[in-house]
Symmetry: C2
Subunit: 405 residues, 2 copies
Amino acid sequence: MDLIVQKFGGSSVANAERIKRVAKRVVAAKRKGHRLVVVVSALADTTDDLLALAESITDHPSVREMDMLLATGEQVSVALLAMAIHNLGEKAISFTGPQVGIITDRTHTKARIMDINTARIEEALKAGNIVIVAGFQGKTATEEITTLGRGGSDLTAVALAKALRAKYCEIFTDVNGIYTADPRIVPEAKKLGEISYDEILELASLGAQVMQSRSIEVGKKFSVPIYVRSSLNHSEGTLITKETQKMEDVVVSGVALNLNEAKITIFRVPDRPGIAAKIFKVIADHGINVDMIIQNKTQTNTTDISFTVAKSELKRALEGVRAAARFVGGGQVSSDQNIAKVSIVGVGMKSHTGVASKMFGALARKKINIDMISTSEIKVSCVVPGNKGKEAVRALHREFGLSKK
Amino acid sequence: MDLIVQKFGGSSVANAERIKRVAKRVVAAKRKGHRLVVVVSALADTTDDLLALAESITDHPSVREMDMLLATGEQVSVALLAMAIHNLGEKAISFTGPQVGIITDRTHTKARIMDINTARIEEALKAGNIVIVAGFQGKTATEEITTLGRGGSDLTAVALAKALRAKYCEIFTDVNGIYTADPRIVPEAKKLGEISYDEILELASLGAQVMQSRSIEVGKKFSVPIYVRSSLNHSEGTLITKETQKMEDVVVSGVALNLNEAKITIFRVPDRPGIAAKIFKVIADHGINVDMIIQNKTQTNTTDISFTVAKSELKRALEGVRAAARFVGGGQVSSDQNIAKVSIVGVGMKSHTGVASKMFGALARKKINIDMISTSEIKVSCVVPGNKGKEAVRALHREFGLSKK
């Protein structure tokens, strides 16, 4: 009998009715002859409610106590799901992360899984149970309760699939799968049957958030097939897996849009070796993540340096950047929040040429000015004016024939 | 430095404001030089909300999963209280019952504490922490989460006080202490400075519910002084302790009223040896707790047998009683819900005579008819008509001079 790990997010278990629906789905899979481990998130809103409670007590909660508090959310879900499954006549047993031996490091609120002791789960499976595990949580070697941070339940599911040598890991969510573009922007976007780990990693980091990158990285590292599908219907989802020949035949798999970045420029930076290193060291010391960087020498002896950061970090970033500019004797610092990053992603780019120039051409025909360009082995990103982002996505989606899939 | 165990109930930690108030009180005790272990219940309403969630899923929740669900309530409280104490600048650390080594048997939803491993608490105390422990919960030897049933947090507190050899256990509640009678019935009732374990056990079982009997029994068994006081003010509470000579000089310590019992009578039971045993065996087999029993032979060859049961169990009890009556060839079965049980309690009764007749005289002067009588070494209970219960309590309170204390 195949072992499958299923994961249901907070919106899938938002209330009693939805929990019962999840129970039906789990029981149906069990009755098809699968052995099942089910990972569940906290009921939608629970985590926010708990955070609000903590905020009403203190502005600076201890991270250890935050984990103590937040870990209760998933414990509620697993107990309720077990009850709902019992009600359908199947055996089920719920466990917390700590109970089930998910051992993490001591980084409270964003702990990393170090080890999983699968003995207890295997014993419960052997006894014929559907095993339900609280996502997002674990314990340290000294029995401290920890949580795994954003997307933690996905991580629990993928890590359990690896540890238990599951056939695959199903991530149930509120979308039908992964699309060639956001269907709200490109109505003719098509659902992908499968996608490679690397492509989804690029898409996730580029703003098409289906799963947190950490979980996919773990899936990639241990070759765990991840099946993303809807908890609301039975449509086929998208399988995230290793690259196949079929994938490589496709030049572009998807187009992503990210409207959450801002651009910062430092003008007239002295053009000396090591200057960029100094600037970005100061910025990093301020705890700011930088995304795209371009440097363009246009004057004699000085150069302008531009880069993008998350909009939410812009204010803090500017403080760091001004410090950096002073430090290296640079000129004025400017910022621009009205930018959009559009990206095309596809493993096929490795073996196809002219992809970038085709992209630039498509944007040019729409008279969309390109402000910054960055590329990797399997993606090309362009920063364009913010109000042109959606038009750019639609143009590229058409250019690369993605609607025909 | 003295070690004190403090316990705060659900109404004391009902919201952020109250949690902050509890934190202040705990910190004040710490700054007086005490070492502190603080046991906390779930925020008021939390347990009811969780029960409602479970009910919306199934009519017959598994007890194991109920414990999984309910144990989250106290975990939330301890984390929030720790945060509130941090905010006041003191060190504090919270633990769940399982984390702190409260080992129970496997009777889910009403587990018994088997052992407490105090190493982790002692280590945390040594590091200068106020140690906060989730009440009401523990784990089995195989790491299953259990809960201790009604009054479980009191039990956690008293058991910890014993295990840690605390100087005493403070139970903070929403009343100022234990009174000679319910002040809502007898306005001149006085708060008792101290009371013996046995007296409070009789009072609790007689309807004056301040603490669950189980916790007091544990306190008595291990001679843990229990100090009942208000979390809302700083008035002196009531100390529950071993009998002292001073206590024995007082004939009656308190008067209790119980309006939650009903009387059942089986008429014309054949008057043969062993009949009563047969009847109450059948009733016990139906899982019904019987309180007072009287048998009065008034006819030749037959006798009437009366007893009281909890009103909430009356319907179920009658089924059992009718079966029992048929089984022994008895006659008609009747029931009466309009009864009140009034009781006087005092360790002084052991060494004083005429207490019962004084009680009967006081009731007679008020023309209150006595329907049933039962006595123990330190109490006398009378069943009177339901509408006379409060008047009876007031008459007895006056008769035994309790207002003068």
